[in-house]
């Protein structure tokens, strides 16, 4: 069981690292974003498969956590949040259900396809919600943003 978690952690770490290299993340932040991706995936796995909450909740909380890590890293490394958030959410991204959806459509099985489509859009929506709730909170509570409340494009 613990070994299971360790291997999942390693797998998510490697996956995030690989995509970080593909997206040309700056070298000194590569490992940081891998860690946040792996932690996010472990949290998702724990919430969705151990406690058996809804997928939506698990992914949302995990994405929130990844975004939280990313905001913290962004302040620490003085780089934009996107550098950490994009590789970090790679393990959560609904690639599997997107693939299953398209395959079911093409094999002429619309009911299965709709099911997978719902899953895909719910998961992507949950990731987006997690990220935007986090950045909203950070903008509300960050001191620097309080000082100059001029026109801001809220993400």
């Amino acid at each position: 069981m613990n070994l299971n978690y360790l291997s999942y952690f390693a797998a998510a770490l490697i996956a995030t690292f690989g995509f970080g290299v593909l997206y040309n993340v700056p070298t000194r932040t590569l490992f940081a974003s891998s860690i946040s991706g792996a932690v996010g995936w472990i949290v998702y796995y724990f919430l969705a498969f151990e406690i058996e909450l809804d997928l939506f909740v698990g992914v949302g909380v995990a994405a929130f956590l990844v975004a939280f890590f990313s905001q913290w890293y962004a302040r620490h490394f003085k780089m934009p949040v996107i550098v950490f958030a994009i590789p970090g959410i790679i393990p959560l991204v609904p690639g599997g259900s997107a693939y299953n959806m398209m395959r079911a459509f093409i094999e002429g099985n619309p009911e299965m396809a709709l099911m997978f489509a719902t899953e895909t859009f719910l998961i992507s929506g949950a990731i987006a919600v997690g990220l935007s709730v986090n950045s909203g909170l950070f903008q509300v509570f960050s001191n620097r943003a309080f000082g100059k409340r001029e026109k801001r494009y809220l993400p």
């Binding site: 690292f17 997206y23 700056p26 609904p94 690639g95 599997g96 693939y99 895909t120 494009y153």
Partner: protein, 252 residues
């Protein structure tokens, strides 16, 4: 009062926007950065409009004349280092407005920065990343090696076909067809257990999960055009992958 001609400032803004948009920054970030750069040169009535394929910027100089520049984007890739470098540059400009000629040189430097990793290193990294996904999707350890081989080779095929034909739909279709063939081959040779797990893990480098998520973020931020455009591209990509895999699974 501006110290520099408005046309030069606009050139700098558009060039910065081009670098950011080319390298996969979100549209709201591009709009925000351009707004800040233009503001740091004391321009007024700044309006920026960015969609994934185009960029329009209108400003008014102190002489009361409006200036507009339009940029049409064709190809996009993801290079987060350049995005972060342009971000840094815009922060520097917010503190002290440099002459546009100097900024242009800096932007050219950013543009010519080589990638951190060679093509082979990034292909190897993608292959390893595909090896991580079988476990995440509930597969077994035996699925890892087929996923590494199929994912790595599939990504190489995708890059080659994309560079050759310049049609990403076709490149994704061919690459996923190739991945499907490899997966069938591995299963029939006795490596790996679940063909679906192997295929899903190997196509992860092509699958538009990232694009779907980004489109939702754009939609939530109120950038309806950008969000819908990215979503359409993502669905097209998903369709290409589905067709490629379905060709293998129906004919074999």
């Amino acid at each position: 009062m501006q110290k520099y001609p408005v046309a030069d400032i606009l050139d700098v803004c558009v060039e910065a926007g081009r670098v950011m948009l080319e390298n996969g920054a979100e549209t709201y970030r591009v709009e925000d950065t351009l707004y800040r750069i233009a503001k740091s040169y004391n321009l007024v009535y700044i309006n920026v409009f960015v969609v994934p394929t185009a960029l329009i910027l209108t400003v008014q100089g102190s002489d009361g004349q409006d200036h507009t520049e339009l940029l049409r984007m064709t190809d996009r890739q993801t290079n987060l280092e350049k995005v972060s470098m342009v971000n840094d540059l815009s922060r520097q400009l917010a503190q002290r407005a440099l002459p546009p000629a100097k900024v242009k040189v800096k932007l050219l430097n950013i543009k010519n920065t080589p990638r951190n990793f060679s093509r082979w290193q990034s292909n190897l990294a993608i292959a390893l990343a595909c090896g991580g996904f079988p476990l995440l999707f509930g597969g077994t350890y035996t699925d890892i090696i087929p996923a590494v081989v199929a994912g790595g080779l599939g990504h190489i095929v995708y890059e080659a076909v994309n560079a050759w034909t310049n049609v990403s739909f076709f490149a994704e279709m061919v690459a996923s067809f190739f991945i499907g063939l490899l997966a069938v081959l591995f299963i029939s040779l006795g490596f790996g257990q679940d063909i679906n797990i192997i295929i899903i893990a190997s196509v992860m480098s092509l699958v538009p999960g990232m694009a779907i998520t980004n489109s939702f973020r754009d939609l939530m931020a109120g950038h309806l055009l950008a969000g819908v455009a990215v979503l359409a591209k993502a669905l097209l990509t998903a369709g290409a992958i589905g067709i490629g895999i379905a060709m293998v699974l129906t004919f074999l």
